[in-house]
Symmetry: C2
Subunit: 247 residues, 2 copies
Amino acid sequence: MTYCVAVAVDDGLVFLSDSRTNAGVDHISTFRKMSFFEEPGEGVLVIMGSGNLSITQSVIGALQERQGSPQGLLHQKSMAWAVQAVCQAVRDVYHRDAESLRQHGLDFNPEFIIGGEFRGEPPRLFHVYAAGNFIESTPETRYFQIGEAKYGKPIIDRVIQAETSLPAAAKCLLVSMDSTLRSNLTVGMPLDLAIVRRGELRVTLHRSIGPEDEYWNTIREGWAAALRDVFHSLPDLPLPAPPPAGS
Amino acid sequence: MTYCVAVAVDDGLVFLSDSRTNAGVDHISTFRKMSFFEEPGEGVLVIMGSGNLSITQSVIGALQERQGSPQGLLHQKSMAWAVQAVCQAVRDVYHRDAESLRQHGLDFNPEFIIGGEFRGEPPRLFHVYAAGNFIESTPETRYFQIGEAKYGKPIIDRVIQAETSLPAAAKCLLVSMDSTLRSNLTVGMPLDLAIVRRGELRVTLHRSIGPEDEYWNTIREGWAAALRDVFHSLPDLPLPAPPPAGS
């Protein structure tokens, strides 16, 4: 299973992904789900994928092969064109693989979150589906999740707004991931955290977060302890008195 | 959609259900999903159901018709026998309705949470599935959820322990419901909250909670405000300084 999430705030974009694939009793693998396409000063794209790993790797591989050529993602006219190039790569893999996968009972189920910034455009965030169709985030819906989304959704709904700072958005996504990791064992560490600050046209920060990461543990333990304190500080519902002994 | 949840703690049982069925743009209905079977001093059962309303109502209706007769739930030898009587009622409705439902593209999908206490037994909590099979809660897994379970699961995992008091468990379930209501519009008020305190052999408290309920709003608003405070009190991840202007 997978959990990937990205948010768009006024100051830029934040991305977070886990790295667990094929989780099971005796076969747990760790693969990166976050890929970077970067030409500093020209543009930057961060892509996260969920679904069958052979499909998502085929899509990303095809895109990486074109890097530097006129067909490369960062040589497209705009970010929307780059996203359409990703969609075409999804459809190419579909035409090559989907029928064979189906014969073996496997779904063609990739999804991608793509965010970044091209010179002359604001930062933008997209969600690409298996059919090669896509949607873009809006001021009303500033985040996308793929994979095991529900456990970590409430904290994002409560916290993220346009004015949320990039560090606060990163903190929010880490709390969201923590709730997901606690509830679904098939989502696993290490995590990839990336930040693209508006106007820099590069990956501002990429941090691979393992179980020993100091900041991760500060957030994780601080959040758990504070939640318990907050919970106990809220008033209890008064209950009727128990019946007198012997009644 | 539905969200029902119940927890077993040392002091007794707490139940919470929403009341929204068939949510859609132009057809939103409100039906109780919680039913009580009570013979004070002898035993008490609380049953919550999810799935197609015609199925859950048929099951509960059949059980209610037997109330007071030797086949009544509270005349069974133990709580486990009462749960098996519920399972038999599920299978009876399956044999009567499932084929016709299937012809109209409808699943036979009821699930029930059943909790209560019989004289001479501790409080017990069960989860009944559509096939009429069931599981019982354990010290390691003290709660069951049916319906839209994921949004509200993290807070339960963080808070509920054997020693949790009944009022604190009720508070926890209300926070869990609040997270669900915020994330899924098809789960709706009013809520039914019920508490069965160990040894009382009756429904200790039943509260129907509408949007104006004072305690509900205290918890809902207090939790939202405190979460935001806690969130902002946790340290931010330091970001690299932006490149100097003109670089």
